[in-house]
């Protein structure tokens, strides 16, 4: 285990962490405000990746792909929310699991019908396909770009949630929906916008993962489960918790896979989650007090 390898893996961990944050941000806020477990969030990630890959295949432009992915995911999210999921906010969690589970099956299969079985590949623009030196360690430029984009989005999101009026409504809704509603916050509207924004972030995460992983049906569920782990560790409804937990999960998962045996490495984050929950059952930064 050389220092350069450790630096590289740490960077990979942070990069996974910022991607997970993009995924968890929508998940945790949607859950915090509407008490709704949106298992279709992984499908929105997949839709973003496919929209990006298809756009790149059609136009040859990586930039257009990066723009198309969040847009497609946001539209899909809005359609899903207004047509179906909206009705399930007041229902119990069993119904929520079932309706999202059924939706995942249908969405996955629909994607397979449109794009077929073979995974799609996304290629990188020349500017991002090389390596850059970080502390003397060569690191893929694209992974660094993901890291930077992810951090910028994370900071922006943090600023919007913590420092703006819209963010205040969101936080108010997350910590106490009835009171926020009574104080004049249009919770359904804020929520629809939030759902779309969360979907857009998931789509962005999907298209950024495109060149690293292959774009295929079923790519959304493993990352969804990691994002759920992040949400649970961070405390449901807390954007700060999601950021801390996402970086923690990203780094522990990546280092675990390098340092431990495959069996232990893939289980490291779940053991960490169990340990954290044993001490703090509501996560690190619970939004509901």
């Amino acid at each position: 285990m050389t220092p350069s390898l450790i630096i590289e893996q740490l960077l990979n961990g942070v990069q996974l962490g910022v991607m997970l944050f993009l995924m968890s941000a929508g998940l945790t806020l949607v859950f915090g405000i509407m008490n709704f477990i949106n298992l279709t969030h992984g499908s929105l990630y997949m839709i973003g990746a496919f929209a990006g890959a298809a756009t790149q295949a059609a136009t040859g432009s990586f930039l257009l792909a990066i723009l198309a992915a969040p847009l497609a995911a946001a539209l899909a999210g809005l359609a899903l929310e207004s047509a179906l999921l909206k009705r399930f906010y007041g229902r119990d969690h069993l119904d929520q699991v079932l309706v999202t589970f059924g939706s995942i099956l249908a969405l996955n299969e629909a994607t397979r019908m449109v794009f077929g079985l073979t995974p799609l590949r996304m290629s990188l623009p020349a500017a991002l396909s090389g390596h850059v030196l970080i502390f003397g360690v060569p690191y893929p430029a694209f992974r660094l770009a993901i890291l930077v984009v992810g951090l910028v989005v994370a900071v922006l999101l943090y600023f919007i949630i913590m420092r703006t009026r819209i963010g205040m409504w969101v936080r108010a809704g997350a910590s106490n929906r009835p009171i926020a509603s009574a104080m004049g916050v249009n919770v359904p509207l804020v929520f629809a916008a939030l759902f779309a924004a969360g979907a857009a972030l998931a789509g962005l995460a999907g298209v950024m993962a495109g060149p690293i992983l292959s774009v295929q049906v079923g790519m959304g569920e493993p990352i969804l489960i990691l994002a759920l782990v992040v949400t649970v560790i961070g405390g449901v409804g807390s954007i700060r918790g999601a950021l801390v937990a996402a970086l923690l999960v990203g780094v522990v998962d990546t280092l675990g896979r390098v340092l431990l045996t495959p069996a232990l490495g893939s289980m490291a984050i779940f053991v960490m989650m169990a340990a954290i929950l044993a001490i703090r059952p509501k996560g690190l930064f619970p939004a509901h007090g």
């Binding site: 477990i37 079932l98 059924g102 099956l105 249908a106 996955n108 299969e109 495959p262 779940f270």
Partner: protein, 338 residues
């Protein structure tokens, strides 16, 4: 649910599982008459998933705890049987123990292992409730899945083929018909056991806690231990179902313990109706048959299936059991509240 059920309702509740079991028991004869052994294969699958769905429903329907790690327990049961059979076939001891292909030994081993794992997982997961519980159990399922994939020695991703002949004590159960009746007997025991639990004080505390936890605590009962006991019972029975699947098809793989299989089990329970002990058995039958019919129509059957699940949850809230009750009950009101 609060008032004692009418004699009619009570009779129906005890008659329904008998009818289900009798109908299943007749399938091998139909298979023989039609000379179509495939029917027995399907019926065995129905029975095995009926055991798992019935067991899962004990925590979902009566405990109000939506567990998404039951496919993990299902897989643990299967892998215990598979791994012990592997060591038997290769005549290589597992640590200090010899392997075995005798279900009289490997089923208790599966019960023991799954019981231990479920106690740990349950103790951690039950510190939380509601949606947290759901997400944590989903994460644990994924952990079991990765653990199975990492078992390189036992096939890893490709799954584990059982090469030795599976027996139950002196009886060879590799015969398809004999194996079916073994599984059916386990289903009958499971229905009986869960039925007794639901009607007992144990089941009453469990149901009461899922309705109103605060009141249960106020009368001086801590629901945690009851929930843990229910979780372990349910996990162990699900592992037995998994063990039977592995023994029956002589194969177990990580696919059998994926998170989507946990979702399938919940769908089976809800499809049949979580309000009746025997509901999930109906749901499992409907699920397996539906899967078979749809997949023979189109390779994209999951699309149709997903839509059906969505439609069910939008419309049919009491599951098939409620539909049956409404059809067979003269008193519609009773069916609604029963």
């Amino acid at each position: 649910m609060a008032e004692p059920p009418t004699p009619g309702a009570r009779l129906r509740e005890s008659l329904a599982p008998l009818l289900i079991l009798a109908a299943l028991a007749a399938t091998p004869m139909i298979a023989l008459a039609l000379d179509d052994p495939f029917i027995v294969k399907v019926a065995t699958r129905v029975v095995i998933f009926a055991i798992a769905a019935t067991a899962l429903n004990f925590v979902v329907g009566y405990g109000g705890l939506v567990s998404l790690c039951h496919a993990g327990f299902f897989g643990i049961g299967g892998y215990v049987v598979g791994i012990l059979a592997w060591h038997d076939f290769n005549a290589e001891p597992l640590w200090f123990m010899p392997g075995s292909s005798d279900l009289a030994l490997t089923l208790p081993a599966a019960i023991l292992v799954s019981g231990l794992v479920a106690t740990i997982v349950g103790a951690i997961s039950l510190r939380t409730s509601g949606p947290y519980f759901l997400m944590i159990t989903l994460a644990f399922n994924q952990m079991f899945y990765y653990a199975a994939v990492a078992l390189q020695k036992y096939g890893g991703d490709d799954g584990l083929q059982i090469m030795s002949a599976i027996t139950l004590g002196p009886i060879d159960v590799s015969n398809r018909y004999r194996f079916f009746y073994l599984a059916l007997a386990v289903l009958a025991l499971t229905l009986l056991l869960i039925g007794r639990f639901v009607d007992s004080r144990f089941g009453m505390v469990l149901r009461a806690a899922s309705r109103n936890e605060t009141r249960v605590i106020a009368v001086g009962v801590d629901p945690w231990l009851y929930r843990l006991a229910a979780f372990v019972v349910s996990a162990v029975l699900t592992a037995v179902a998994g063990a039977l699947l592995a023994a029956g098809q002589q194969f177990i793989s990580p696919v059998d313990m994926g998170w989507d299989r946990s979702g399938d089990l919940v769908v089976m329970a809800v499809l049949g109706g979580v309000g009746a002990v025997w509901g999930p058995a109906l749901g499992a039958a409907a699920f397996v048959v539906l899967e078979l019919v749809l997949s023979s129509w189109t390779t994209h059957w999951q699309f149709v299936f997903g839509l059906i699940v969505v439609l069910i949850v939008v419309s049919l809230r009491g599951g098939l059991a409620d539909l049956g009750r409404t059809l067979f009950s003269r008193d519609k009101e009773e069916a609604k509240h029963g």
